[in-house]
Amino acid sequence: MIRIKIHHTRRVAALCFMIVVAASAPALGDALFTYGYTPRGMAMGNAIIAGVDDFSASYYNPAGMALLEKPSFGIGYMATGDFLKALHADDEIELDDMQGLLIGSSIPLPFGAFLSRRLAFGFSCFFPDGVILAIKVPYPTEPQYVLLQNSGRSLSVAATVSLRIIDGVAVGGGAQLFDNTSGRIDATVDPNGKVEATVGQELTSYYAPIAGVMIRPELWSGKSSGFRFAAVFREKFFTEYEIPISSYLGGVPLVVNLRAVSLFTPRQWIGGVGYGKNGSYHYELDVSYNEWSEFPDPNFDIDVKFEIPLLPIEFQNSKPYQTDFKDTVTIRAGGEKKFYDGDRLDLWGRGGYAFEPSPVPDQTGETNYLDGDRHIGAIGLGMEIPGFGFSDESLPHRFDFVFQYHYLQKRVFKKDTSIDADNPGYPRIGIDGSLWAVGASYSTLFDYQ
């Protein structure tokens, strides 16, 4: 018996190692970084990495999937808007509203023997309406909501796996798929004015890993309530765009190499402590360290080659702009409590708060990146009714709703005296206003039939 246990422990350790090494999991797109993934999580201020126990585990903390008893599937919709204002700017800055569909699932795999209740698989997807991948790179000095303008500009697909090490302790990992864009445009105009062209463009994929651990002591102690602990790591991600344009005008080469980095989301280290009772309440405090200091120059890197015969002209390449973003610490707190426990209906109330400091330094130079500290408040409602339509009434249907509000602290930047008066942010520019998000989702448990 002892030998069998040792044997199983080695296999579990090997699986654990594989999962952590392969740790390829969900770090969903920028919209999810800004607002969150599911109505339940958003309503709790996204302070849910220690308490997640539904289809959203694949995003918030993949380790949580292995602690589920039954598979969970969910689908929902999110919409966002803003009341932002660029202060002292000549023109208003439009921030695109974003809507999108979210789908996810967490599936404990019903293996037997030493893998019994060990492994789970999950995925999380976010499909912004009308977008697979959108990249917007404004002119460098153009006033812009440098962090918020890319929300909802990338489809996000992530797959995760999870391993329960012992009752109440699990690890998980996975990867999110991202795309880079590269290619070329070649056009030749011969001396007779005839055009010959070839265009190539490709999207190459790369994967941003995520890993998580969840510890729920009440599951091995047999108690129904207690503290829960979790940690999640999400790798940074961004997308690169590189397309050289080569045209030959009557034998004169006009070659422009273009390169930009967009959709940056920082590397995150998140820790969370929760306290809850199954089926009754859960409260949680999460802290996230966000490595915004690696934010790259978001402007075009342009390399020009255009020499017109007999004209002594030398075009200049673009110049780099320092971003000097700083790392931030985000604090999130949230909770949920069942406030109505009926025969055919359970109701949950939720609330949450988060403080998201801005990583953007004072814009006293040429660039006009507008961003401010955000206070995020959220409320939500959850409804649960017994199964209908499915063969088993023990598989409930859940409906969740959220309203989330982001208040941006007013911020005004005064330009240095060295800045040209024709800079759009001269002599000062600032930001004020708010963001909002609403969402609804349906989720259910299911059996293997």
Binding site: G112, V195, I245, L311, F390
Partner: protein, 434 residues
């Protein structure tokens, strides 16, 4: 010209998405794609969503496909990119209101890129079926609903692709650093798939599937602004007036024809299964996928360089075709813990491409595909896997008949040419069931 042809082919291969060209599953491939009535695995998300209701419980499939073209141009080899990538997906089945409901996804991810566009001048020769459009991620999701348990079901699915639009706006300058902006958007395109499936007799299964065409639009407008250029600053002598260069590249890509596929499968005995399908493919809707490049020069550069208006692209006049397919599966050995299946298949695709007598040089010919496969279905005696798992493999030889292209005019720069060759394919997958 041959060198140019070879150079172009180094970059790629073309029509129809990977599922159209190479099949959507290992067992399906082994059975020649005669799968509209079978489709009891993730391949059903492509071949017939309605037939997914034959699958019970939960299953995951993970596999790899590889296809290596050995194609010729004037009896000399040309280099067409291989097509290879991972295929994976899953099925989950559930009773809803006492009706079986099965949802599935089937995804193919090419090795090298999620998507590739390669737009060539029209006169450039290319193997039109194999040079670009296979290089794309394909994601089919589908649901099947059993109307009469194990007798009749309906299904619906979506195939996801993406349009590509947007370009750069730049200012290249002499007196200060150049600068630019970009607004690029790849938008999703969803093409529906509808299916019907029935089992009128215990031994006979029928399937009917409609797949809408897919086609990607590429629209890349680029603008380069050049301010007035001066020299001898102190005298401010203008040597080139303010100019603008517009480069707009437009094209169609990744065409997959509208299809209607009907199939029948006959369980002759517990050991023998045969299937036969015929698919109508509407290739007449095919647009020329050559690049339509518009270049305009305004201002000073417009006075230096003249651009002639470009002739519009012509209708390539592809033809609709019928593609028959046949498959067979034989189980020579069946034991308590394992079962062995041998498979074979054949399909014939007449080329939709008309004789290339004019300026275009779309290379394609009637094609025969022969496939064979093996599948092992095993139970886990250690009790780890709750249901039997499968390991499947296939190999396929695709033969392009030799075709001679004779141009109308001796002055045509492409000249007459002969095409033909083979494409070798291989794939393997593992399926876990719960």
């Amino acid at each position: 010209m041959i060198i140019a042809f070879v150079a172009v082919m180094l970059c790629g291969s073309a029509l129809a998405n990977p599922f159209d060209s190479f099949g959507a599953g290992v067992r399906a491939n082994a059975m020649g794609g005669a799968y509209a009535a079978l489709s009891e695995d993730i391949a059903g998300a492509y071949y017939n969503p309605a037939a997914l209701t034959q699958a019970h419980g939960l299953q995951f499939e993970f596999g790899y496909h590889w296809a290596e073209p050995h194609l010729e141009f004037n009896h000399k080899p040309v280099d067409v990119d291989k097509n290879a990538g991972w295929q994976f997906g899953g099925l989950a089945s559930q009773y809803i209101f006492k009706k079986r409901f099965t949802a599935g996804a089937n995804i193919f991810v090419p090795d090298d890129h999620v998507m590739r566009f390669l737009m060539l001048p029209r006169s450039e020769a290319r193997y039109v079926m194999y040079s670009n459009d296979n290089h794309v991620l394909v994601a089919d999701v589908a649901v099947g609903l059993g109307i009469v348990e194990d007798r009749f079901s309906v299904g619906f699915g979506l195939s996801l692709m993406g349009d590509n639009a947007g370009g750069v706006d730049m200012q290249i300058r002499e007196s200060e650093s150049s600068t630019g902006s970009l607004d690029s958007n790849i938008k999703p395109i969803y093409s529906p798939i509808y299916g019907l499936w029935g089992r009128p007799l215990d031994m006979l299964r029928l399937g009917l599937c409609y797949r809408e065409k897919t086609e990607v639009n590429l629209d890349l407008p680029n603008t380069i602004h050049i301010p007035e250029l001066e020299t001898f600053d102190e005298n401010s002598i203008s040597i080139l007036a303010e100019s603008e260069v517009y480069l707009v590249a437009e094209s169609y890509s990744h065409f997959s024809p509208r299809m209607i596929q009907f199939g029948a499968a006959w369980d002759i005995s517990p050991a023998w299964l045969v299937s036969a399908d015929v698919a109508w493919q509407q290739w007449s809707a095919y647009h020329d996928q050559s690049i339509d490049m518009i270049i305009e020069l305004d201002g000073g550069l417009g006075q230096l360089f003249k651009i002639s208006p470009q002739p519009p692209l012509e209708d390539p006049d592809f033809e609709d075709i019928f593609v028959p397919a046949f498959g067979v599966e034989y189980i020579p050995a069946k034991r308590d813990l394992w079962r062995l299946a041998l498979r074979g298949g054949y399909w014939y695709r007449p080329s939709p491409v008309p004789d290339q007598k004019g300026i275009s040089n779309f290379a394609d010919s009637d094609t025969h595909a022969f496939s064979a496969g093996i599948g092992i279905n095993a139970k886990d005696s250690y009790g780890v896997a709750p249901k039997p798992f499968s390991l499947d493999m296939y190999g396929r030889l695709r033969v392009l008949e030799e075709r001679e292209i004779v141009k109308d005019s001796m002055a045509n720069p492409a000249g007459d040419f002969v095409i033909g060759g083979n494409i070798y394919g291989f794939g393997a997958s593992a399926t876990m069931r719960f």
